[in-house]
């Protein structure tokens, strides 16, 4: 770095100083908003999770880890956490596999290519609340299309969102529908970056499509797969819109997820210490995924 603005002319210390000031002033607005709405609330949440609620004029007092111990006894919290874990473990592999299949399907010479790609991608553009409404057409007990389909085969109707056994899976289907097309875009981008000479060479050698995928495309898509998996996991623990719109956590909390339960605890029960402790749990989960990301992804990003 021999040529920088600062060395264009001999610099006096005062000018150097004013440069620093100028620069910090430029960062200040962005940084203060970040500090106020990201860093401060994160720290404040941890702090508040260590205090009891202020009730009937009694001020909040320090209770240590009591709020966290109380969470262990909170069956709904444990269930929400467990539901969320199941949600992640089931929807992510499904969405990622579908995304890959979609990308492979669109990445061919086909006349309706753009149309097919659009059909796959559009769900990820729509607001989750709108998507929830679209899917209620399928799930609703009397008029819903799924029950009409069942009736066609003279099978008994199912109350899809009203049964503890099926509500969570119905929400999962909605998530997969929305996410798969979004992840397809990343696979598509990665597929298009694979050198076309590789596929020509494979063709000349007489390699089958399957062999080519397994030995060439799949390994080259590895960084994309990791990237998508990690982003999907982060999304999975922040799901809340469709729970509010479709089941409200019910029946019997069978479809309650972590962020949804935090929302309910905070803004329906107004139990702030408990909500703060749960938020910290969520932050720890997200931080763990982020650490995984930095360790796995950034090292392997230049795989090709």
């Amino acid at each position: 770095m021999t040529s920088t603005i600062l060395t264009v002319a001999p610099v006096r210390p005062s000018r150097l100083w004013s440069m620093q000031l100028y620069g910090y002033l430029l960062i200040l607005p962005a940084l203060s908003f970040l500090l106020l709405f990201t860093h401060y609330p994160a720290v404040a949440t941890v702090w508040e999770s260590l205090f009891s609620a202020a009730r009937n004029g009694r001020p909040a007092h320090f209770v240590g880890l009591d709020n966290y111990l109380a969470l262990l006894d909170d069956d709904i919290f444990i269930q929400s956490l467990w539901n969320n874990l199941r949600y992640a473990l089931i929807t992510i592999p499904l969405a990622v596999t579908l995304a890959l299949l979609m990308a492979l399907a669109v990445n061919r010479h086909m006349r309706a290519n753009a149309l097919v790609r659009t059909a796959f991608f559009i769900p990820s553009l729509l607001p989750m609340i709108a998507i929830a409404n679209l899917w209620l057409f399928f799930y609703t007990p009397q008029l819903g299309l799924l029950n009409k389909l069942l009736a066609l085969f003279s099978l008994p109707a199912i109350n899809w969102l009203g049964e503890p056994g099926s509500a969570l899976y119905c929400l999962m289907a909605v998530s997969v529908w929305r996410e798969a097309g979004f992840f397809m875009i990343f696979y598509l981008a990665a597929l298009q970056q694979i050198d076309p000479r590789l596929s020509e060479a494979a063709q000349i050698e007489g390699a089958s499509r399957r062999y080519f995928f397994r030995r060439v495309q799949w390994p080259l898509l590895m960084p994309t797969t990791l990237f998508v998996l990690i982003n999907a996991s982060m999304n999975a623990f922040r799901i809340v819109d469709q729970v509010i719109a479709m089941t409200n956590g019910g029946p019997n909390n069978s479809s309650s997820l972590l962020l949804f339960y935090i929302y309910r605890t905070a803004f329906s029960f107004w139990d702030m210490p408990a909500a703060a402790a749960m938020t910290v749990v969520l932050l720890v989960i997200l931080a763990a995924i982020a650490l995984l990301k930095f360790n796995l992804l950034d090292k392997r990003a230049h795989y090709q």
């Binding site: 149309l115 097919v116 769900p123 729509l126 709108a130």
Partner: protein, 272 residues
């Protein structure tokens, strides 16, 4: 080509086409329900008459005009402020050799893993303390500073040759002039990409606006749509279908116009 291969290709293409159609079915169903009279909603008969009455009824059944205005203002405000703040911050990080630029950048990147909706608990209190609860500014404030925008612009600005800036300084140009005439024009694709991602994210945002608003005058579309659909669940499907399509239409139109940019910016973005 051998005929067997063409046949296989044709078969595969058909399967793909049908899969795409099936995937798109939820939207088609909503469309079908919305353009047919409410009395026919259950029957799906092919000869049912077409109508736009459901859209008219839905529009009058809830203050959708107001919701549209709110969401548009909200998204506009957020995206404009995000881009201005991020431009300033990224420029400072890249070209001012700040003493603590590394530490500051690390602080900024923390936001990538903690999104503001997770922190709604304290942000709700902060916005309340500022007296901005139930205002559009109150919804927008936590999003004004986007780590992602700063990150993207910093990458782009870094790649712009210093020589350009040095030449401009020698000519006596001000920093602001340089930013406006050199950096911003050269980073235009990044601005478009980030704006598209940010627009679609904030158009769809639901939980935070739900928490922080409670009156018609500030409620965005997503919250309005949810309130509209929730009470009479299963009763007025035609209206709900029409309202749902209505609220998503602007994004769909935007997508169809900017299809290529949309897909590219989502590829670049990775984070909504």
């Amino acid at each position: 080509m051998k005929p067997t291969i063409t046949f296989g290709r044709l078969w595969l293409n058909t399967v793909i086409g049908l899969a795409a159609l099936l995937w798109f079915l939820p939207i088609l169903v909503a469309f079908w329900v919305a353009i047919h009279p409410a009395s026919d909603q259950a029957s799906f008969s092919l000869f049912s008459p077409l109508t736009l009455q459901n859209f008219v009824n839905a529009w009058h059944a809830a203050p959708f005009g107001r919701y549209f205005l709110n969401t548009s203002l909200l998204v506009l405000m957020i995206v404009v402020v995000q881009l201005i703040l991020a431009t300033m911050a990224a420029y400072a990080l890249v070209r001012f050799r700040l003493k603590f630029s590394g530490a500051i950048f690390a602080l900024i990147l923390l936001q990538l893993m903690i999104s503001p909706d997770v922190l709604m608990l304290n942000n709700y209190q902060t916005i309340g303390a500022l007296g901005l609860r139930d205002t559009l500014t109150g919804i927008a404030l936590p999003y004004f500073s986007s780590a992602f925008a700063i990150f993207l612009l910093r990458q782009t600005f870094k790649a712009i040759p210093l020589v350009l800036e040095e030449a401009a300084i020698v000519e006596g140009a001000s920093r602001f002039y340089i930013l406006r005439k050199i950096y911003i024009p050269l980073a235009k694709p990044i601005y478009v990409a980030f704006a598209l991602v940010s627009i679609s994210f904030h158009w769809n945002d639901f939980l935070w606006p739900l928490v922080i608003t409670d009156s018609v005058n500030v409620r965005p579309l997503t919250v309005g749509l949810q309130l509209f659909s929730a009470p009479e669940q299963g009763v007025q499907w035609a209206l709900i279908g029409a309202a749902t399509l209505m609220t998503t239409l602007p994004l769909l139109v935007l997508f169809l116009i900017f299809q290529r940019q949309f897909i590219q910016s989502f590829m670049r973005a990775g984070i909504r």
